[in-house]
Symmetry: C2
Subunit: 333 residues, 2 copies
DNA sequence: TTGTAAGCGTTATCAG
DNA sequence: CTGATAACGCTTACAA
């Protein structure tokens, strides 16, 4: 194995000089630099990243924990994280927290064992174990905030976004508005449900508990939820699904039941994934700046790693994007 | 910083014993183990992964290079890689090769600098730089094969899959069948195009060059391609798009032009992403076992890292999934 | 089963 | 600007 000392011998300099040439070329005279680089070439030297990480006690790696990489919403956030990480010289280790795919606790001891310098958690799955370890760990949460969490968070105002979406449906004239939920214990679901309830209440509308259908963000769950909703004796005239994949599932259910969107049913999604504007009808949804969320999260983490302070909560903008899946309800409905 | 030697002192054993207790607990007597574990607790010791990686000269990390994580096809493959990696004790570092997001060459020197023990390349982007370095590097390619590549590959038979899809359209009675391509220089596009040509030729059908529309796998590109295709004087009665996102874009284009699927236009996609079966009409497409591709790739890489031999080409099954977006052409067409 | 001790390859410090 | 040298914390022969 060719190491720095071999290059040093070949170039007739010290190991320190070789190291400097490689890491801080400007601290070395031009002549020396050339000689060293030539020796590097000739010797077939390959830098040993593990040795540097060991010596510096920094891995320049961050862990990103994602509930479901298959969901385009999360994968777009990961893209933002990855490009920001690249720009700051960090690597991204990816871990899925989805319990169906991931062995419980695989990543729990990850920070503990100093495999990574910091972590970004997309959603609260597994966040507890991080909080338990040592709350001074450099961890940033994205999308979702853990109540009383020690970790800075970047997200949109989920309650308000949901409220606006539902308010828009009400404004169109809808009174029976159903809601397809996410995992019921997740803060994100709770926030959005709160927004839904608030909008309904402000309009003086009663909520039938059966209108709140369970879901898990997947298209299949949206499909089943909508099927059930649309087959009620007095079905809702509008559905608000808190993820686009669920909304897409709901579109499918409506189509199978001969329910026309937006004539018979208005539908609003959440996230504005790439596919939303290609649906027929084009999907009305709440846009989140997905790449930006990832970028901001990574930038916050870098500041944390540099020992700087960051805001405990960073709230990014969202936008209700009105397209074609929403309209006025039919008369008499 | 609490290190093994501190734990050793506290437990009254040697550092070797502590190391063994942590890495190979069965090589240590029960009594000692307990004593050491207690000392670990008391001292607040945290394992130093970098030190182990350095000492062992193995990072237990693999690099996965993905053209576009935002494409559900790739992200599902990554899920397969990640879960297999977890099962084998490896970590996955994720890198995007998409030149719009990624700085050229960021990951080229990655193996060179021994940041990872091996790599999985999804698609050939950037594969050259790996081949240049040292062809003995543990690298597995997935989805796409590089002609004369030194790297083992796992993929489906793309040419045959495309041929079957087109043959099916021909069998339905279509004669004017258009094709939405991927990046023209990629082997995957070439293989599938070859399959398309072969099927057409076998049926004695001429191909109008204008039927081969450019695309890049994205829904937007499929949308534009289909728009152009459907506005020809004598438009095709069927379109074969070699990615589902492009097919979804094409559905949108058809809808805007009042072209009914499958009555006026049959449409076939490729990959069978999650959303395909939720489209209206449900999308006929070529199913690939996405998670499996990732898993197999990872398992091959593990064997490579263990010094075992692996097959140069592993061809997995695909299936033409016939749903509702395809049908007989209208009479006289 | 346990201990001793020699590294792994880099970087940081300090002196020249 | 360059050199000498001492770590960094762990693993692993080898010895006891």
């Amino acid at each position: 194995m060719v190491a720095i000392k071999d290059v040093a011998a070949l170039a007739g300099v010290s190991t320190a000089t070789v190291s400097r040439t490689l890491s801080q070329p400007d601290k070395v005279s031009e002549k020396t630099r050339e000689r060293v680089m030539k020796a590097v070439e000739k010797s077939g030297y390959r830098f040993n990243a593990a040795a540097r990480q060991f010596r510096r006690q920094r891995t320049e790696t961050i862990l990103t924990l994602v509930p479901d990489i298959g969901n385009p919403f999360f994968s777009n956030i990961v893209q933002g994280i990855e490009s920001a990480a690249q720009a700051s010289g960090y690597r991204v280790v990816l871990g899925e927290t989805n319990p169906e795919l991931s062995t419980e606790g695989t990543y729990a001891g990850y920070m503990q064992q100093r495999h990574a310098d910091g972590a970004i958690l997309l959603g609260v799955d597994g966040a507890d174990s991080f909080a338990n370890e040592d709350s001074s760990m450099p961890v940033v949460m994205a999308c979702e905030h853990l109540p009383r969490s020690p970790f800075p968070t970047v997200r949109i105002n989920n309650a308000r976004a949901a409220q606006e979406a539902v308010a828009y449906l009400i404004e169109l004239g809808h009174r029976r508005i159903a809601y397809i939920n996410g995992p019921p214990d997740s803060p994100i679901s709770k926030d959005r449900l709160r927004g839904y309830r608030k909008a309904m209440k402000q309009a003086g509308l009663k909520i039938d508990d059966n209108w709140i259908a369970p879901g898990d963000y997947s298209p299949a769950s949206g499909y089943h939820a909508a099927k059930a909703l649309l087959q009620m004796k007095k079905p809702p005239t509008a559905i608000f699904a808190i993820s686009d994949p669920m909304a897409i599932g709901a579109m499918r259910a409506a189509s199978e039941l001969g329910v026309k969107i937006p004539q018979d049913l208005s539908l609003v999604g959440f996230d504005d994934i790439r596919f939303a504007e290609f649906m027929t009808p084009r999907l009305t949804t709440v846009h989140q700046h997905r790449e930006l969320i990832g970028q901001v999260a990574m930038e916050m983490l870098v500041r944390l790693l540099d020992g700087e302070k960051v805001a405990q909560e960073t709230i990014l903008d969202h936008e209700l994007v009105i397209r074609e899946s929403t309209g006025k309800p039919r008369d008499g409905k």
